[in-house]
Subunit: 360 residues, 2 copies
């Protein structure tokens, strides 16, 4: 009963907020969707078109349609910004907020920097998939530039931005230069930042002004032949790999050498930067042993590979995460990602700069 | 269809994990529930008995039954620790993980310090309220001490700890000394840490060895007469207040002086420490103005009150949170709470020490 009353109150509040100001709604596709390697012809909100590659699992196909890493950017003189969006009804997970899974995350440019503004919240209810929210109002007068991150764990079916009826709105090109494809696990995908703008790919993009493309596939980044096939053909200026989180030690032994050799052949002269997976010591002796063995195997193989290929790098900062930095023993929380980015950002930027890859 | 298959697989995996080892289950109430000011006769898992006080809202009554801040502690020589628990079906929110809302958070003592072990995960589905999980296995041989935090956003109906059938398990007294009651808002309640052990009251308790009792009532910490009535009678060694997040400026003007005077009268010689609410600058000019006015009002009144009463303190560290430290513009994420605790912990400890309140 109380829930119903609250829902009605919320509904009235929402309606009256919208009633006060007449809005016009602009489809996000007109403003431009960014953050892909390349827009698919299936949906502008898909990260990746799996159809040319056979043998992908259902999980990978599901993740390929999620909008992780995608964003729009626009300028408007509207004193408020609203959004109306519809998502798939993918089940939610308990180790991420609903906001990062289906909500929106808005930034504004101030003094040349992107500053967090607010989020588009969602009810935690698998069946509700349509949302309409005022994300921010009472904005500074005049024209402002915005960056809106899409959710990481659902498909976007539709997204419209609502501005005051008498305001102007215009899509902008991506504020980030180049394309650095980041192929990785759930950690790259974004688990478990609290909102989409706090994933490490988003943090690196804002901090360095370079477009780090989120190609994180939770649980599925195992250097499979299908992914290799895609990565060989993709247009990118550089590659970053979180490649040692998902495969077994045996898979690394089987696949890593060929994966790197093939990538070097397909992308001569481009940097291929491998990051060692950050993890906390597990008290579970078997998990701990598995992680250490995998890390040591990867490190040893990468040592040889980076000697063999001049553009292949391993970045391996020890004990990056520190205490209290995961939600569940595996996935960094916001403190973990903050430390992770702090530990790796300068090293990544330094390598990229050697190849002429730098932000504005 | 795929969901069903996954559920069946998960079920088989869970059953087979349990099938391998015969477990015995011990009710948590036999081990002892800690973290209250006083156990109610309604349920050992309620934080607070609202019944002696008239006029509490339904929201406050709901929160009073939640297990935020409660924990159990035990020692066992079992090589694994499992839990079986049942919660209320409170609706979940999108600005916190499912894990903090209904899951469990386990720590182990190593070299005299509490170290994170793992979580008891939950499906994000309001209707599922019974869970059985192995939280950790392959533990170091011999006897280990554990600290298990209960969820912050639901009622616990039942909690049992599962250890190997041939193992010993024994409840322990709270590892934390004294009682510091922390009366506050959603921020004190725990929104939006990623798990229960990362709320600031839990962090302070582990860091200082002092029992900070979570008396956070999301949205409802307004120095109401009913809360004052309770706080006047409660047995505690000190009080910490996050009292300026929820009330309006007018409510602060109306209630703060009387609230403090009455608390001083009821708890002579005990420290009453007020924390200024940490917040990030909002780009919403109206929200910003409201927050600043409220902060300035509270600061001015507290200045006079701390002059009037020798045991009344205001701790007000500016710009504690910094960038990227909230999930939604209001609630600190794990990075925010980390910075918050770093900024305030030493100052709090210093005051408490003057009154003989310190950890082991």
């Amino acid at each position: 009963m109380r829930g119903v009353v609250l829902t009605v109150i919320a509904l009235i509040a929402t309606l009256s907020a919208f009633a006060k100001t007449e809005l016009k709604w602009v489809d996000a596709t007109e403003l431009g969707i960014h953050g892909h390697t390349k827009q698919t012809d299936k949906s502008p909100y898909y990260r990746f078109d799996h159809t040319p590659y056979e043998g992908f699992s259902k999980g990978i196909i599901k993740h390929s349609k999620e909008s992780a890493g995608l964003y729009i950017t626009f300028k408007t003189n509207s004193p408020q910004v609203s959004a109306s969006w519809e998502t798939s009804s993918n089940s939610m997970l308990d180790n991420m907020s609903g906001i990062i899974q289906r909500g929106l995350d808005l930034y504004i440019k101030q003094n040349g920097k992107w500053e967090f503004v607010g989020v588009g919240r969602v009810p935690v209810n698998a069946k509700v998939t349509k949302y309409k929210r005022c994300i921010i109002k009472n904005l500074p007068n005049g024209e402002n530039e915005f960056l809106l991150y899409l959710p990481i764990w659902c498909e976007i079916k539709r997204l419209e931005i609502g501005v005051n009826a008498d305001a102007e709105i215009q899509g902008l090109p991506s504020p980030f230069r180049h394309k650095v494809v980041v192929f990785g696990s759930s950690i790259t995908h974004g688990a478990s930042a609290s909102r989409a703008g706090l994933t490490y790919t988003a943090l690196l993009s804002r901090n360095l002004g370079i477009d780090f493309v989120n190609f994180g596939f939770s649980g599925s980044c195992k250097m499979q032949p299908q992914f290799l096939e895609f990565l060989k053909g993709v247009e990118a200026d550089a590659f970053l790999f979180d490649a040692f989180s998902n495969p077994t030690t045996d898979q690394i032994k089987e696949r890593l050498n060929n994966f790197v050799d093939e990538m070097v052949k397909s992308h001569p002269g481009k940097p291929l930067i491998f990051l060692m997976t950050p993890f906390i010591d597990s008290i579970n002796s078997r998990v701990y042993k598995t992680r250490i063995t995998r890390r040591d195997t990867a490190a040893e193989m990468m040592k040889a590979l980076s000697k063999k290929h001049k553009d292949v790098y391993l970045l391996d900062v020890k004990d990056v995460l520190g205490k209290e930095s995961t939600i569940d023993g595996t996935h960094p929380n916001d403190l973990g990602f903050y430390r992770f980015v702090n530990a790796y950002q300068t090293k990544i930027a330094k390598i990229l700069k050697k190849y002429g890859i730098k932000g504005k």
